[in-house]
Point group: C3
Chain length 222, copies 3
């Protein structure tokens, strides 16, 4: 059981590290840039979770996680050229990490006696944060701003897990179910372009329009 958790944890970190390293390849960084971006993406979500929960940060006392990130990122540096579409691979690795961290984040919160709703929020935050760091550092539009289902998948994964655990189901079963639900929703969204009804109104006005309306100040000088 503890082994299973550790394996899931390492897998989540590794797949996010790959997605971070592939972002580094899109930006044509050098090998140590790959390692930094891979590591930060890999451990980011779990670090946020642990800091918010006031728990020791998981990778500080267990060097295996950092080693995993370093090895995986370095390997990506040498193998990324084999990949036809790196962005597509980022999307799929991100999807696996998203579903894993949603369950792992919610589970850690529950194990520290957080309320069920806090556990769900923690699952969603730790699932999405690694990818947010990766996309912000890489200067890309964060995945969660895109139109297809993303946050929803993390939410459903965390929710299924928390509900099943609260119902007394075995945590391994609940975790498996949460992962499968989260991943399937995201996978179908990627495959079929599924999206929830988005906000129906008009998109936000551009800076220039806001300036013309007097909502943003004019810049006198340039």
């Amino acid at each position: 059981m503890h082994d299973l958790l550790s394996i899931a944890d390492h897998m989540a970190v590794a797949v996010f590290a790959v997605s971070g390293a592939l972002m580094a390849s899109r930006k044509q960084m050098d090998i140590f840039g790959f390692i930094l971006l891979g590591t930060v993406t890999g451990v980011g979500g779990g670090s946020l979770r642990d800091v918010l929960l006031d728990a020791p940060v998981f990778w500080i006392a267990a060097p295996g996680y950092a080693v995993t990130c370093i090895v995986v990122s370095a390997a990506t540096f040498f193998l990324a050229h084999l990949v036809q579409s790196r962005f597509r691979v980022i999307l799929w690795f991100d999807a696996v990490g998203l579903a894993l961290f949603a369950v792992l984040g919610a589970g850690k919160a529950l194990s520290l006696d957080a309320a069920p709703i806090i556990a769900v929020v923690m699952g969603v935050m730790s699932a999405t944060f690694g990818g947010i760091i990766r996309d912000v550092l890489g200067g890309e539009v964060p995945l969660l701003l895109r139109r297809e289902i993303y946050v929803t998948a993390a939410l459903m994964g965390a929710l299924v897990y928390v509900v099943l655990v609260e119902l007394g189901i075995d945590v391994v079963l609940a975790g498996g179910a949460g992962f499968v639900v989260g991943f399937l929703i995201r996978a179908l969204a990627l495959h079929r372009g599924w999206s929830l009804p988005a906000y129906k109104g008009r998109p936000g006005r551009s800076e220039n329009e806001l300036r013309e309306m007097g909502i943003l100040l004019e810049d006198e000088e340039e």
Copy 2:
């Protein structure tokens, strides 16, 4: 007194959550995107404050804050179309949250025996951080980079509060005064386009100019 603090706290979180959810509407996200962006914006500043002060993060043990964020963000999803100019509303809700968090951040730091100057810094950081997250995730220019008075309002609110408390004034009075000062300064800045004298020199050179001057490396390939 404790009730008053709790009300102020929930209000600060709620108004920032609205501003985050409105940013989500500008980006035409789905309802769970609204909830995530609203929640992160709502609890962001206070979370940073608590993590830096090594205090338990305020919303982890009190699920009411997360519930507030979720309800308020979901309501915004259904009501945002009623708003003529969402950006203007973001600015005003942000202003209320800014002034509230400036006082609340400084107050929490003082209550944990931080030095007065640290309390002021903490007030400014927790007041501005929620909005920074919202704007960075939304891909907008952070409000604090805009020309009109913003950081100054948070600073003055926190400063008035800390000075009054140090002078022995009742914390409720001091808090009220700090909030009013901070909010009024920001409100007048928004209404009248007030700004402090900005840095007088030229703006920064663009990447291309830097490259021509040899300060940035040429990119050989493209």
Copy 3:
């Protein structure tokens, strides 16, 4: 010895604060904008380090650091016009801070009994994080995405320090060596345009190309 550490610490904070304040001048912010951006850049890397290591955040209990940031940032507001090329000065102050924080970050991790590899990772993260905050808040491409050697310099500085300390060398000597190695590598990279072999493949596809390939969803509406 303790004094030396404190001096190095304050220097690292001060040089990063200057680089943050210069970024504020490039964005033509007002004086309190300078102070906020300078302070956040100055204390950012060390704050991340302390939060991840679960140590009290260094500047909370020692107001001298905040005072340093405020004074240095305010001075920059009045003196920045004397500088011919602010971006070049940012690069050099950033280089000093990078090398200092690489050693200081690794040293603090070791002093808290982290494994050597974790100490190196912590050195790199705390060395690069202040600059990342500065660049993200300023809306600039983070230095670590640029082509010349950056992450590598922090890594080598931290690595030299950790290896020497593990070999039993005096920490002051080891720290000096780590700083010199880290700074020299970065300085030569800046001066001569050194870079490591970057990822050889093609750069990432643009959003439009991804959309045409069907990897990104079409946006039906605009």
